[in-house]
Symmetry: C2
Subunit: 121 residues, 2 copies
């Protein structure tokens, strides 16, 4: 499919798709007139970008990750090490999020208590 349809399907602008392409994402096939072509695999890549971004990874990190996700010529030991360190990082982020969630929950409870007290006076 062409860039317009692709961009619509993955929910970002054509400019953003071209930008991701420059970074190194997507198969870089073109038709004779120079138009970019995208496949279903590129849709998966775009979904991975969205997931990665939503959890705070940079495009370069996501690119490295997406390349590790295509097990092929790569050095297995290195790929495994990298994947494991990514998993560890994710676990750390989950732990951080839970800490901040707890803080927010405590503040919410406190705010509710103060409000209840004010209303009863």
């Amino acid at each position: 499919m062409l860039i317009g349809e692709f961009a619509k399907r993955v929910g970002v602008s054509t400019d953003t798709i071209r930008f991701y392409g420059k970074v190194g994402f997507f198969s870089s096939s073109r038709s004779e007139n120079g138009y970019r072509h995208y496949t279903e695999k590129d849709i998966e890549t775009a979904d991975l970008i969205a997931s990665g971004k939503s959890i705070g990874f940079s495009l370069r990190e996501i690119l490295a990750f997406s390349q590790e996700m295509t097990d092929g010529v790569l050095d297995h030991a290195r790929a495994q090490e990298s994947l494991q360190s990514k998993i560890n990082l994710i676990d750390e982020r989950i732990a951080s999020l839970k800490r901040v969630r707890k803080l927010a929950q405590q503040q919410l409870d406190y705010c509710r208590a103060v409000e209840a007290q004010e209303l009863s006076v």
Copy 2:
């Protein structure tokens, strides 16, 4: 304490501290010679910034949050709404992280299996 000591204690550069100050963080007290002063409360703020950043919030979001964390003159209903939406966002992020963690784990398992197979051939 002065900016150098403060920056060292929270583990960032003095430039970064001045930048956070411009954004609106920290008590803005100065001595007569113009030197910035920081307190233990500012240390807590710096810790909150570190937590917030590590989980992907922008400085402005963290600023808003840190202001909500000081329940005072604020509109309770609004503060509660905001805190609740922050908690919901955190829950979404945790869910996203778990999804990507699962992907990475699957790829890791797959990579290990491929490696084992290669070795046994």
